[in-house]
């Protein structure tokens, strides 16, 4: 049976034109190139960790990464301990985040102290081996904390870090647009 005119036209025009798709891809490519970044740290945003916003503009550098979420404390990707909720003495009926009492000696968080001391020793060894002043141990630490974290927990973490020879803290925040 011979093909009708319409059917023949359909067969001829059936080829996929990729020009418009190409245009779209190029636009996406330009957008992604613009937002391309090679920062030294990554933030795993979740319900447990919401960083505060700030007008600070200093870019983050490489340092030991300590994350305090709503549920745990993590050093360079390794969970050190879990936080608990204790009744808030000043606001009856409410709870406040705290480090478990059996993890502490006074204000010192023992397991965190051991881990940070290891990190400090590793950094010093690396500095000795490389003989490079760039890798010198400067006691710097990147702190990523959840914005609702009470200062009591932060104080204990900072005190412990101070005892483990970390004295310079860099609080990681989201940069505001203005």
């Amino acid at each position: 049976m011979p093909l009708t005119k319409a059917k023949r036209r359909l067969e001829i025009e059936g080829e996929l034109s990729i020009t418009s798709m190409m245009d779209m891809m190029v636009i996406i490519l330009v957008f992604l190139l613009k937002s391309y970044s090679t920062t030294d740290i990554s933030v795993a945003a979740s319900d447990e960790l919401a960083l505060p916003t700030s007008t600070a503009e200093k870019p983050p550098g490489v340092a030991v990464n300590l994350v305090i979420t709503k549920s745990n404390i993590v050093v360079d990707g390794l969970e050190i301990l879990r936080l608990t909720k204790v009744p808030d003495e000043e606001n009856p009926g409410q709870e406040i985040l705290a480090v478990p009492e059996d993890e502490k000696k006074g204000q010192l968080i023992t397991r965190l102290y051991d881990r940070l001391l290891e990190k400090a020793e590793d950094a010093k060894q690396l500095s000795e081996l490389t003989q490079n002043t760039e890798h010198d141990f400067k006691g710097q630490m990147l702190l990523q904390c959840d914005k609702k974290l009470p200062f009591s927990v932060l104080r204990e973490v900072m005190y412990t870090a101070g005892q483990a020879q970390f004295s310079e803290f860099r609080f990681v925040v989201y940069k505001t647009g203005d």
Partner: protein
Amino acid sequence: MAVERRKSFQVTELNLVPVMNLVTILIPFLLMAAEFVHLAVIDSTLPAIGKPEVEELDPNEKPPLVLSVHITDEGLTIAGADHVLNPEGAATEGEEEEADKGPTIPCKVTPCADIDSYDFAELTRLLDLIKDEYPDDENVILVPESRISYELIVKVMDYTREDRETRDKDGEPRLLFPYVVIAGGAQ
């Protein structure tokens, strides 16, 4: 002659498939490296431990500035700069008791309901006054209460670091006290 003209106008379609392949490979790679939120850091140090240096003070010279901002659930208290903020001198006994009762900058609602109830505009205004007197000083000590949230501490750091309403001659926000030390705070 007619055949030659037809040849010269023959349109050859560009083969875009290899370019397309290249772009398709590039897109997942760039998606992985894309940064949709911008991060920054705020530097801070632990307070130095040791005996304070006792210096003989010349009564004719300006007293040194040891600026600290206490953050409580009632408001913000600026300490160590009374000679700037309260130039009339020490308060009388009755007034002193009155002064001890509340913070320098009380919250708009007491006790402070949330971060927005703190009066940061007033904090910047008072710090501007102190900076006018001490243009070379750059340190501030933050003393938060135990229950103060980290978000509020960061916000106070922002307002003690720079005054975004006032611009210097380069068009940058006026720097106030950019070096922050976080002290132990009230238990």
